[in-house]
C-alpha cells in the first residue's frame, strides 16, 4: 500500500494517521539519509523525544510500506534509509497543516486574552 506521489501533490495529509514517531522519523530523514541509531540521536536532539528502538522500527516499516522512505544498501549491519519524493511531498503537506493549526491556536489564545 504505497502512497502515491499524487497524494502529496493533491494536498491530502497522508501523515495525519501514521503517528508522531513516523513524522519525527520523516523529518529526521528530510535533510539526509540516516540509520537507526543516528535517527534516535537526531530526533532526541531536535524534538527532545527519545524513541524506543521498537517504536523506531515500527515507524520505519510503516513509512517504507507507504513508499515515503526507502532503504539504502547496508553499511555493515546498519541499514540507512532515505526519504522518497512522495515522502518529501507528504511531509510538506503535513507541516503546512500543522502550521495552519498552530496559527489558529495562537490566534484564538490571543483573542481569548489568556
Amino acid at each position: 500500500m504505497a502512497a502515491s506521489g499524487r497524494d502529496g501533490k493533491a494536498g491530502r495529509d497522508v501523515l495525519r494517521t501514521v503517528g508522531e514517531a513516523s513524522v519525527l522519523v520523516l523529518i529526521s530523514l528530510a535533510d539526509r539519509s540516516r540509520h537507526g541509531y543516528a535517527l534516535i540521536q537526531d530526533i532526541k536532539e531536535f524534538a527532545g523525544v527519545e524513541l524506543g528502538p521498537g517504536t523506531l522500527y515500527g515507524a520505519l516499516d510503516r513509512l517504507e510500506r507507504l513508499g515515503l522512505i526507502e532503504p539504502l544498501p547496508a553499511e555493515d549491519r546498519r541499514h540507512p534509509y532515505r526519504i522518497t519524493a512522495p515522502g518529501a511531498a507528504a511531509l510538506r503537506v503535513h507541516l503546512d497543516s500543522l502550521e495552519r493549526v498552530s496559527a489558529a491556536g495562537r490566534l484564538r489564545l490571543q483573542l481569548g486574552g489568556i
Binding site: G36, Y37, G52, G54, T55, Y57, R77, H79
Partner: protein, 139 residues
C-alpha cells in the same frame, strides 16, 4: 544489569518478532540495543520497547499472515463480546419498561408531576421512560 544478562534480555525480546522481521532487522536491532545500553538506556527499557514492537508487528495485518488474521479475529470477537455485554447490561432494564424516544411530534398529553419516572442516556439520545398505570405503552 551486566552485559550478558542485558544481551539475553534483549535477545529474548527480539525473538518475539516474526522471522521475516528478524531476517530483515535482527542484526541491526541487536547492534542498536548494544549502542543504546552503552549510552545508559536501561536494558529492560530497550527489551520492553522491542517486546511492544513485536506485539504491534504481529497485530499489523499483512497479506498471507494467518496468525495476524487470527489475532484480529480474536480482537474483533473480544470487542464484539464486550459491546454485546454492554448492550445487554444497558438495554435490559429499559426493555423491561415501556420506552419511547422523546420527539416533538408525539401526541401525548402533558404528563402530571411525577409521571416521568427517569431518563436514561442511550447512544447519545435521552431515552425517556414513561410508565402509566393501565396504559404501559410507548407514547
Amino acid at each position: 544489569m551486566d552485559g550478558p544478562r542485558a544481551t539475553l534480555l534483549v535477545g529474548a525480546a527480539l525473538r518475539c518478532y516474526p522471522a521475516r522481521w528478524r531476517r530483515r532487522h535482527g542484526d541491526e536491532a541487536a547492534e542498536l540495543a548494544v549502542l543504546l545500553i552503552r549510552d545508559g538506556k536501561p536494558a529492560a527499557a530497550v527489551a520492553w520497547s522491542y517486546l511492544a514492537g513485536a506485539a504491534r508487528e504481529w497485530l499489523t495485518p499483512r497479506p498471507g499472515r494467518r496468525l495476524s488474521t487470527a489475532a484480529w479475529a480474536l480482537l474483533a470477537a473480544a470487542c464484539s463480546l464486550g459491546v454485546s455485554a454492554a448492550l445487554v447490561t444497558s438495554a435490559g432494564p429499559a426493555r423491561a419498561a415501556s420506552t419511547s424516544q422523546a420527539r416533538g411530534h408525539v401526541h401525548c398529553s402533558p404528563a402530571p408531576p411525577g409521571f416521568l419516572t427517569r431518563m436514561v442516556p442511550a447512544q447519545g439520545n435521552s431515552l425517556v421512560i414513561v410508565r402509566k398505570a393501565g396504559h404501559d405503552q410507548p407514547c
